[in-house]
Symmetry: D2
Subunit: 363 residues, 4 copies
Amino acid sequence: MSSTYGKNIRISIFGQSHSEAVGVVVDGLPSGFRPDLDELRRFMDRRAPGKNSYSTPRKEADAPEFLSGLNGGVTCGAPLVALIRSKDTRSADYSNLKDVPRPGHADFTAQLKYKGAQDVAGGGHFSGRLTAPLCVAGGICLQILKSKGIEIGAHIASIGNIRDVRFDASSVGRADFHLLRGAAFPVLDEARGAQMLTAIEQARKDGDSLGGVIECAVTGVPGGLGDPMFDGMENRIAGIVFGIPAVKGIEFGSGFGGTSLRGSDNNDSFYMDGGRVRTRTNNHGGILGGITSGMPIVFRAAVKPTPSIAKEQYSVSLSGKSNVRMTIKGRHDPCIVPRAVPVVEAAAAVAVLDALLDGNKYQ
Amino acid sequence: MSSTYGKNIRISIFGQSHSEAVGVVVDGLPSGFRPDLDELRRFMDRRAPGKNSYSTPRKEADAPEFLSGLNGGVTCGAPLVALIRSKDTRSADYSNLKDVPRPGHADFTAQLKYKGAQDVAGGGHFSGRLTAPLCVAGGICLQILKSKGIEIGAHIASIGNIRDVRFDASSVGRADFHLLRGAAFPVLDEARGAQMLTAIEQARKDGDSLGGVIECAVTGVPGGLGDPMFDGMENRIAGIVFGIPAVKGIEFGSGFGGTSLRGSDNNDSFYMDGGRVRTRTNNHGGILGGITSGMPIVFRAAVKPTPSIAKEQYSVSLSGKSNVRMTIKGRHDPCIVPRAVPVVEAAAAVAVLDALLDGNKYQ
Amino acid sequence: MSSTYGKNIRISIFGQSHSEAVGVVVDGLPSGFRPDLDELRRFMDRRAPGKNSYSTPRKEADAPEFLSGLNGGVTCGAPLVALIRSKDTRSADYSNLKDVPRPGHADFTAQLKYKGAQDVAGGGHFSGRLTAPLCVAGGICLQILKSKGIEIGAHIASIGNIRDVRFDASSVGRADFHLLRGAAFPVLDEARGAQMLTAIEQARKDGDSLGGVIECAVTGVPGGLGDPMFDGMENRIAGIVFGIPAVKGIEFGSGFGGTSLRGSDNNDSFYMDGGRVRTRTNNHGGILGGITSGMPIVFRAAVKPTPSIAKEQYSVSLSGKSNVRMTIKGRHDPCIVPRAVPVVEAAAAVAVLDALLDGNKYQ
Amino acid sequence: MSSTYGKNIRISIFGQSHSEAVGVVVDGLPSGFRPDLDELRRFMDRRAPGKNSYSTPRKEADAPEFLSGLNGGVTCGAPLVALIRSKDTRSADYSNLKDVPRPGHADFTAQLKYKGAQDVAGGGHFSGRLTAPLCVAGGICLQILKSKGIEIGAHIASIGNIRDVRFDASSVGRADFHLLRGAAFPVLDEARGAQMLTAIEQARKDGDSLGGVIECAVTGVPGGLGDPMFDGMENRIAGIVFGIPAVKGIEFGSGFGGTSLRGSDNNDSFYMDGGRVRTRTNNHGGILGGITSGMPIVFRAAVKPTPSIAKEQYSVSLSGKSNVRMTIKGRHDPCIVPRAVPVVEAAAAVAVLDALLDGNKYQ
């Protein structure tokens, strides 16, 4: 099994990079909700390729086609299905990949699993293109959450060694999110953003690539969501965020950095704030024991450098059982982190809405 | 829902810190396997408290009592159930926790979710004591994996700011694991280990606590395990490891550090090694596209500093809606990282065996 | 996987007939509920063996021991675990079953699946004894449902060829249930009940056994529970009722009999009843399109004749690969239908409470 | 949640009767399989409407369009998606259904669940049209099963009061299936079939409808598939078959009829048949303790009379809170049983292939 997620909202993503279409089934959406399709298009545009020098020039018409689940533009309770047709594919670019797997890609592991039947063109089902339908699903979930006072925003926390400032985990909110959503390159500190862009451009010129970290926050979350142990909010968010290709790590609140603190510094003091319990700091990232505290959920995802690079690399010929050199042709982002920002938001939205629909949330 | 994990092997953990017993149901174990109960006891002993100055002096008789699932000492196909009876509990220590939640603990979020019905004694179902039955389940899975040539080992990668050397991700193996399993304090570099112990002792004296990072490796894993997107090995391992209390982050292979590398450095070159495809480096941590490559799986989990500290802290009185100071009484580890090492191994074992039993692994 | 059921309430049943204990984990119960243990005991007693001539004289002390999940007698949100210790077992009776499987039992199929490692004593995990923990789980669910105005009752609809009258599907309710729960032999028509008892006694004398049908009704169910297609209430109830050993069929509303009606007779006319929509008849058994209508849920389960009979039967020796005659020793009910009545109620209770806790029920 | 089924093969069905398309995602199909699309079309044709006087004259172009999951005509491991575009719909026929629900349909229960947002046209997501994508999924599963020696066939066991002969449960096989697949009206006894057709024609003339029973057999099933209790083959098959609209009952082997037998008659004697264990009779329907015995799986599904009839019926006006008379316009099958025969085969195919892919089947 593979590409399904969720308990109350179940998304099932399908398609290969160069198949006729990619898409998603979203089962379990509350009925009676009217998605704002313009807002969804704007959200999708933040992920779309071909906008600038650091993203692939391949053009996608990412406008989703809704086949079912809407009735008069309103969710009707039946599974919602959105298709994104493929255009402008060049399968010929990939003809050699079954024999010579690209380093850092899933070509080799797909070969092991599917014994040569896998669709290698463009990475097949492992392609970053599959994040487009995730954005359709997540984009609608974002709108539903917003209608309930829950908002999600994310920014580029680092590109290579260059770090943006972090969210203020205790006070992050709507103002930050509004600015970030409108930005061509979503960072909190524009000067750092400029440095990042320079580094990306340099990597592109070098035929190389860069990775980075995305920081995401969810505000307005009611306390009491999630469950202990294996169905906690950390497990659930990690369970969907690791579905985004190239994510190799996730941390909540103070995360790995928090392991260098002493307990007296990492513990978040409770205090009363006008009748509501809050914490002074938010090293717990809004989650204690798997359950939300009502403070913002804050997490960071590590995105590895794009494995597709123009530089020559070492690989093997599976048929010849020999070592070979190989060069990847085609067009690739020198850094996918900027385009992955809305994808992380989308993933978080699905996980949070799924938890919000848990029958046991108001025990 | 909460404390169940797995698709082919399903574990269901139960109990509260001070309930009559904690335990686990393990459904789906292959039949006909004879667990080595002495080896299991030795494995459990690595987690057991009360062994030294950095762990709580509470005595546990962690020897599991098997109620079902074994027939003549051999797994019979029926769900295996193991109980660990509670002894030496002092519930009186916790009487005030419903009103004044401990910073960094789940007391407050449990209150939100369960509306005052939660069992607060010793942290209830959120207690680290629940990792004992996880070790029973994982300990048996480890033995089954070993019989198939798959081994799992882990060490303390850091305590506070003091770092052990890392596993050599490409060549980690049995020799490392053997040493680590026999060590009272499992590190690769004993000098660093001594520094860590000093730091822990200092934290204890200061009425404070320390966190750390645990690195875990799985060797002998066949290629082709796991699925794309949401059922990849990273998702699955994260899904169980975040079930260990105090884990706030996980990263695979080069992880967060890999985001500072360029693609040409982070990509792992393939080469032929006596007819078998391997990678020169292992920045991918044995997983590409969610699917195992045959290289060792390597991941690190961030463990936050023990939230229970002797120092006075700030909290609130939920009944009085006022800010209060509070001091946690009772006995607590100044650092739970050493005892969490076998727990991480256990969690990895369950996830890997679950994947190994996937019907589609040999597509 | 096997013995787990449910999405919001997850029950996981364990044990073998002659293992040290059988039991159940119930995860997801609403917190803050105080089970009435006396009422639970009375419910369990309806299933208990040894009460009369048509049930096995084996004595069970079916009083469950609660290990966790209760705090001060109230559900605390953590998984509830109940054990029933085994007593009075005679494993020696079953020593030959690995070689000579009993007709109509799971001995042979367990042998195929578990390759000789299965626990054959008393039927192992396939024993009817596993319905005792199902009754613990279901008994508590019944109490929770009752607190929400939902009641469940069942009666013996037939034994062999002797049929009780059926529930009036449109008006079945509390009065019927009250009488049935208090009856030693739960039928609506006592004269038919007397005939059934005579038939059972005759079968016992003949060294033979009888089957029958159990009819179950659930009243007070709100409309709108369940989902279309594969997660409808029929699918869900069937999914748990077929977990009761010996059940070989299930039908809802007019069921198989309804296939002989014309649409104009089988369709249930809607009418207004004091501002509420009801149906004149209830051939739909309270479920249309998988979703509850607010009319009583009515279903019937077919229970095959007890496969354990005293008469000589034909089987095979698996080791000798030869045909043999065999006689089953030990003590067995000539008819398990009466004892299965509360088990069917318990199963229905778990399914209905699980649906009631669906996050999407109030879309 | 609703329209997903399966553990190893996961099908997710989408669409409404009059939405732009209906379709299915099939995740988990073994890779490297080349579906025979001509054979699939012939299978789909058996379900297609408009062929004769007892089925609706609405024309469907049920040829599925494959969007993903195939690469060069071969399954590539990625989720397979098939669409069936809608044509020839007349939504105007259904405009009044939100206010006046049709007896026997899901109009009323959908109203309760989706609060007026449901798509009523043609029954929306509850329409029998959703069985077309189930046939696509099941048709491919049938082909995969056939390649492993497993075949599935079904016939009309009864229409109204007219009964076909039953399968010989012990010897049913390829010859029967071959004849049935080629028949316009699949019965074993053609004389009975002729009577059934007459009865259907009479019901049509009367503006009424008929129900019936479908009997299905699966041959070549290896022993040892399925699990005890809640994941047995009966539970699994029931779990998908109740997803077919209008199914109100299911029974395995001797089923409800078997409850009238004594144990000595209902038990199936084992015997050696050339080194293989078989049973003389097959009252157990190929399943004991939830696990396959290697004998044919045999089950029967009860299909209620088509609720759409031309006769005037009684219903309510939900807006007016009053009783009303209503007449259903549009075109409807007087008996859907013949068209449901391949749907039952398809459902069985998905359940059996799903079980065959269980990782634990060769414990």
